[in-house]
């Protein structure tokens, strides 16, 4: 499995392009937009910039895919009925709740 990362000089060129070209943001700026993007709260122009970065940056694309999968996984792990508390709640707990009410 390849874990290849662009070498440092390549990343430097990439960084310079992202910093200087119009309509571009750095990966760090992209990072700060992620939540707003996913919540559909980015103004139109920033959304265009965000999506353009996504097209040209393999690292951020991969990162965002894994990030989204993480969110989905967290939700599903708890929503999964077999992971939830079993339906059988101990009778003594129910009794304790009702007794406390009567007290």
């Amino acid at each position: 499995m390849s874990r290849a990362m662009p070498s440092r000089p390549l990343r430097r060129i990439k960084g310079m392009i992202l910093k200087r070209m119009p309509l571009m943001v750095t990966c760090e700026e992209f990072e700060s937009f992620i939540l707003a993007y996913l919540e559909d709260e980015l103004p139109r122009r920033q959304r265009v910039v965000f999506e353009f970065h996504l097209k040209i940056c393999r690292e951020c694309r991969d990162y965002l895919a894994a990030y989204r999968r993480t969110v989905e996984l967290g939700r599903a792990a708890f929503a999964d009925p077999s992971a939830a508390v079993p339906d059988t709640v101990p009778e003594d707990l129910i009794a304790a709740v009702l007794d406390a009410r009567d007290a």
């Binding site: 499995m1 390849s2 874990r3 290849a4 990362m5 440092r8 990343r11 430097r12 990439k14 960084g15 310079m16 992202l18 910093k19 750095t26 990966c27 760090e28 700026e29 992209f30 990072e31 992620i34 939540l35 707003a36 940056c57 393999r58 690292e59 951020c60 991969d62 990162y63 895919a65 894994a66 990030y67 999968r69 993480t70 969110v71 989905e72 996984l73 967290g74 939700r75 599903a76 792990a77 708890f78 929503a79 999964d80 992971a83 939830a84 508390v85 339906d87 709640v89 707990l93 129910i94 304790a96 709740v97 009702l98 406390a100 009410r101 009567d102 007290a103």
Partner: protein, 224 residues
Amino acid sequence: MGVGCRLRMPNLPRRSETLFEKDQTGDRDSFDDAALVEGLRTGSARHADHLVRTHIGPMRAVARRILGGDAFADDCVQEAFLKAFRKIDGFEGRSSLKTWLHRITVNEALMKLRALKRLDERPIDLLMPEFDENACRIEAAWPTLATTEDILERESTRALVTSKIRELPDSYRIVLLLRDIEELDTAEVAKLLDITQGNVKVRLHRARSALKKLLEPVLRGEVE
């Protein structure tokens, strides 16, 4: 404002009433919210029994997600029901009874966490994404990304997911739980935790990023 509940003095039913009503029915009743609330306001034991049996399962699940262990969670559920019985007169029906009870339980669990001094502010810097000096992301390639179904299908990897969520520092874990899993909105979470909405968003994003880092081996399909 903190998470404390403002309580009015309890309006508890007389013993004799509850005994009387217990005789009326044997099996499980079915009430809609309005009928249930109406009954609870008169102090009906039958309605109280129904309320508890209908909602205790989900409430216990929330308490466990937030507090972990059974003992604290069951304590929390008891307190939550007690508050619900006391505050039923103030229930305005703007949300469902289920949602109302869910909020009370979350509130109660957070108070317990605070009492246990577990809402600590451990840093999660080490789990944050990395950037080089040119603000470029450092991220190893992801040739494969395991599907949610694949991961949750196996008992071992599913358990790993929930245990990694528990590993997050509380102040981040709680925001992730409340927003992503309990599905509260940003404003509600901000109010419950007494922090700004901006702060909720920052913590949510960091919590997700940290969890992504913790789950990397699973997501890459490297864990059997």
